[in-house]
Symmetry: C2
Subunit: 170 residues, 2 copies
DNA sequence: TGTAGATTGAGACTCGGTCTCAACACGAGG
DNA sequence: CCTCGTGTTGAGACCGAGTCTCAATCTACA
């Protein structure tokens, strides 16, 4: 059990939630593979690694971990939700490449401040926010430029539909 | 057939897409009921109004209209997609009240500019973006303050899950 | 008006995710 | 360490949003 996993479980226990064998296993697997992931591939990875855990438990544990504040959930695009460890990480936004599915993260305090301004103007009390920029990352842009140097490269389908497909790969 | 519907159809035809009875009917229904809507309730409304149109056609037509640029699609939260007419409207962002489901729109050029800055820094070519702020709108805040003036009102469940539920109502 | 090819409809299907409920196991209290 | 209340699990049925199939139909161009 690595340190990240222990921090996860401490946080879970502090929320009055029982630490079961299955939850430990979920947390361990997540902490061994940092980055964004979806529920289904986590489940696949766990069963591939020999864990006897049910799909329902994986989905339930992910929700629990989000509630305990150790995981963040991102609804990016039209497909399945993505999760990401949030312990020890500050809030950030995402750029999603619609070609290769890469997710770039960025922090921009000035955007956050402008959001607060807007909320104040509207008397809206913000609880959470998400900023997703869909587009083409620099390396995919390079590839496209090399293969067809005359025309501006464009993804096959609009970002709204292809973005999610790309994300599944990521 | 009102003016908005005609503009829709002109745009559709310009995209080399056939104008069928069903598509006309979809466009008419949308243009008679402005605001955000989801595919299922549009289908329900159409059949309730006596249109003989299939669910598949409604979904297909919505995708077509998005491709033709007359509709925008928003993946807000974990449930179904929302659509919104985009003709004659400039790009805007959304604040979603997790209590009553109201969707507030706002425009903030400075945020757009900062996004462009970030993209430039990362060599990322942006195609589209979405900024969603989940929180509590002023009137829900007022209601909560009246009913329990001692404690800061808080929605029952975190915005990530309740936001979508609220949206379904909206 | 004829015709090629786009579009439709009914319903099966997919996919991400949730629910059910009996069996099980965590952990507080003794 | 043991007991017991109750939170948790697993298998698979179920759900809801959305897509696919393919024969029949319709649009729009010539």
């Amino acid at each position: 059990m690595n340190e990240v996993a222990e921090r996860f479980l401490r946080n879970v226990r502090n929320n009055g939630v029982r630490v079961t064998r299955e939850r430990r296993r979920v947390v361990e697997t997540i902490s061994r593979h940092p980055g964004h992931f979806d529920a289904e591939s986590l489940y696949a990875r766990m069963t591939a690694e020999g864990a006897r855990v049910s799909r329902a438990t994986v989905y339930r544990t992910l929700s629990t971990l989000v509630e305990c504040g150790v995981l963040r959930r991102h609804d990016v695009g039209e497909r399945q939700a993505l999760f990401e460890a949030s312990i020890g990480r500050r809030h950030h936004e995402h750029m999603i490449c619609v070609v290769c599915g890469t997710i770039l993260e960025f922090v921009e305090d000035r955007i956050e401040r402008l959001q607060d301004d807007v909320c104040r103007r509207y008397g809206f009390r913000p609880l959470s926010h998400a900023l997703h920029i869909h587009g083409v990352c620099s390396s995919c842009e390079d590839v496209a430029r090399r293969t067809s140097p005359t025309s501006t490269p464009e993804p096959a389908t609009p970002p709204s539909s292809d973005g999610a497909a790309a994300l599944r790969r990521g």
